[in-house]
């Protein structure tokens, strides 16, 4: 477990200042936050962000877990809370609870090939993971990055993505489902850019994050390629309210995604019904 607001009231948020708001795309913004009490996380864990008086929703920080005093959260506008998040300005006050759940067991990835495999908004939580992996890249045998977006316009963090594409120590490929005039890269579903990898399938790790449909077909593709079930890590998004394993909402089989996840290796959940829904 990680440090956080583990005080006597598990429901209260920590007062948090909005330091900056960055528009990533018409529907996506990144808010930079500074909690007024200590709140650090491990990559893959999530937090509950409160817009005071409006509501709370779960998000995965997109910044490096090594940065202790601030936290970035990248948020797509989809409904009640996220709309209000998009109206936030520098200096506004919000609330944070967490961190909650279990993140990626990076120590277990040591000396192995690691594939970071994402789609769509899945890039936000994976940015945090990439920061954490790149920080200790010498620990891994090789690091692969494979990502797909609908169109070039949907790719967020463009500068960072360009920077990654130029790194010698990262095997990097991205694709779009549909190109525009300027796009010179690969076109096709994200599952089509995995074929050139040459990894030890007994040990290679794959971390998958994206919309449910991408996770489903991405996982099947990895299994087809020969990745082992226990080496495929999925980040499960369920309806959540409490984040504490109490309210019941996020149950998957015998687990609560908020407490036993949100990161699960595929072998742990594959026998439950309807996991992709």
């Amino acid at each position: 477990m990680c440090s956080g607001n583990r005080d006597k009231n598990i429901y209260r948020p920590i007062e948090t200042e909005v330091l900056d708001v960055v528009t990533e795309s018409p529907a996506i913004k990144t808010v930079k936050l500074r909690p007024r009490e200590e709140l650090t996380f491990q990559t893959g864990q999530f937090i509950e962000l409160t817009v005071p008086g409006v509501g709370e929703a779960p998000f995965t920080p997109s910044s490096s877990p090594a940065v202790k005093d601030t936290m970035d959260v990248t948020i797509m506008k989809v409904g009640k809370v996220t709309e209000k998040v998009h109206e936030l300005k520098k200096g506004d006050i919000v609330g944070l609870r967490g961190p909650y759940g279990v993140g990626y067991p990076l120590d277990e990835y040591k000396d192995k090939e690691v594939l970071v495999f994402g789609g769509g908004v899945g890039l936000a939580p994976l940015r945090s993971l990439m920061f954490a992996l790149l920080d200790r890249i010498d620990d891994f045998k090789k690091l692969y990055f494979r990502y797909g977006a609908k169109t070039p316009g949907d790719i967020i963090y463009k500068d960072l993505v360009r920077e990654w594409s130029q790194r010698k120590d990262l095997d990097f490929r991205i694709t779009v489902d549909k190109a525009d005039e300027e796009w010179t890269g690969h076109v096709g579903l994200v599952t089509t850019i995995l074929d050139d990898m040459d990894v030890d399938l007994e040990t290679a790790i794959a971390v998958v994050c994206g919309p449910p449909i991408m996770m489903k077909f991405g996982t099947f593709k990895l299994l087809e390629l020969g990745f082992k079930e226990h080496n495929i890590y999925l980040s499960m998004e369920k309806n959540m309210s409490c984040g504490l394993g109490k309210c019941g909402h996020c149950r998957i089989g015998t687990y609560y995604a908020c407490k036993d996840g949100p990161v699960f290796s595929y072998d742990k959940i594959k026998d439950f019904h309807d996991i992709w829904q």
Binding site: I10, T50, G95, G248, H273
Partner: protein, 353 residues
């Protein structure tokens, strides 16, 4: 044997009002001018004086005991201060609590709210401070099937004091240090009677046990030993869910009234210029329950939600905590306007295997 007369019990309850808000079950055949269709119901009412409609024995009141431990709607945070918001001035003393709520009801609620990683401070405080004066059931109504769920119709655990109704009063048993202290404080109200009075109690227990068993037989309720064999898994694709959920009007009564159902959502609102967070009971039978961003709903159909409700009670809890999350109290049977009957659903599930 400790014994208390009716008059002395009234006096004890009067005295408890000093330190507690005392709630007693009363029996009613009408609510205001509306007659209750199915005979009489038993409700909790705040105790003022000892009136004729108070029933210490009989069966469980309609409201589940959980309502005294996690209110249906409760402020759990105000602003960003770590202080626990102000609660009731006085803890509750709840009288006439029955074993279905005590044993399995608490088993589930404790499992959820006293989880050692994240204790719910409101529940924990209520659990420490509330007083439970339990009582034996002195009859069974036709919806009672506690013994099929592994419970006896008399308190087995989780009470401070238990009252067994006998001639002219109650045999008194102590179940906790709190109960012990209370009886010491009010020692003048308690009499000693011979061990032979226990026979009266045991005969009554035996009679009620038989009444419950005859219900179980009449409604062919499978007993918990038959639930064991993965009934949910084996019925995953069965027609039972669709057929049984057809009449559901999605009112959520079955889960709200259930002593084991614990789901809630956190709801934020403004209190002046501060934020106020409420913990509100939720129901997995309602459509919004599992909906995620963009309107996707993994349990968009009613039959999926009925299956989920049974999965939680008869598959999840036995696997994670080794008990079934149904007490056999029968409340959902009386509450459901669509006449969906858990006993019948269980029978179909077991028969289908």
């Amino acid at each position: 044997m400790k014994f208390i007369t009716n008059e002395n019990l009234a006096e004890l309850l009067d005295a408890l009002k000093e330190d507690y808000r005392v709630f007693v079950p009363v029996k009613k055949t009408d609510i205001g001018s509306y007659p209750i269709k199915k005979g009489a119901q038993r409700y909790y009412r705040e105790y003022e004086e000892f009136t004729d409609d108070i029933v210490i024995g009989e069966v469980r009141p309609f409201e589940p005991l959980k309502a005294f431990f996690t209110a249906a709607r409760e402020v759990v945070a105000k602003g960003f201060t770590s202080e626990v918001p102000h609660q009731e001035d006085k803890p509750f003393a709840i009288v006439g609590v029955k074993n279905c709520d005590l044993r399995q009801g608490f088993a589930v609620q404790d499992h959820v709210y006293k989880d050692h990683d994240y204790e719910d401070p409101f529940y924990v405080k209520n659990r420490e401070n509330n007083l439970i004066i339990a009582s034996d059931c002195t009859c069974a109504i036709d919806t009672c099937f506690c013994r099929a769920a592994g419970n006896q119709p008399y308190p087995e655990e989780n009470y401070d004091i238990n009252l067994s109704p006998v001639r002219d009063g109650y045999l008194v048993e102590v179940g906790s240090a709190k109960g012990e202290n209370l009886l010491e404080k009010h020692a003048s109200l308690i009499e000693q009677v011979g061990e032979e009075r226990a026979r009266e109690r045991d005969q009554q227990r035996q009679r009620v046990t038989e009444e419950v068993d005859s219900n179980i037989e009449q409604y062919e309720v499978p007993t918990y030993s038959k639930f064991k064999s993965d009934i949910i898994e084996r019925n995953w694709d069965s027609d039972v869910w669709y057929e049984e959920s057809k009449t559901c009007v999605e009112c959520g009564a079955c889960t709200i009234i259930c002593p084991t159902c614990h789901c809630f959502f956190l709801y934020d609102q403004k209190d002046g210029d501060k934020m106020e967070r409420l913990r509100v009971w939720d129901s997995c039978m309602l459509k919004h329950y599992a909906r995620v961003a963009g309107g996707e709903n993994p349990r968009g159909e009613l039959w999926m939600r009925l299956r989920n409700r049974f999965e939680k009670k008869f598959d999840f809890f036995p696997k994670v905590a080794d008990f079934y999350a149904c007490t056999g109290c029968g409340r959902c049977v009386s509450a459901c306007p669509a006449k969906i009957d858990i006993r019948k659903v269980l029978k179909r599930l077991v028969d289908n295997v």
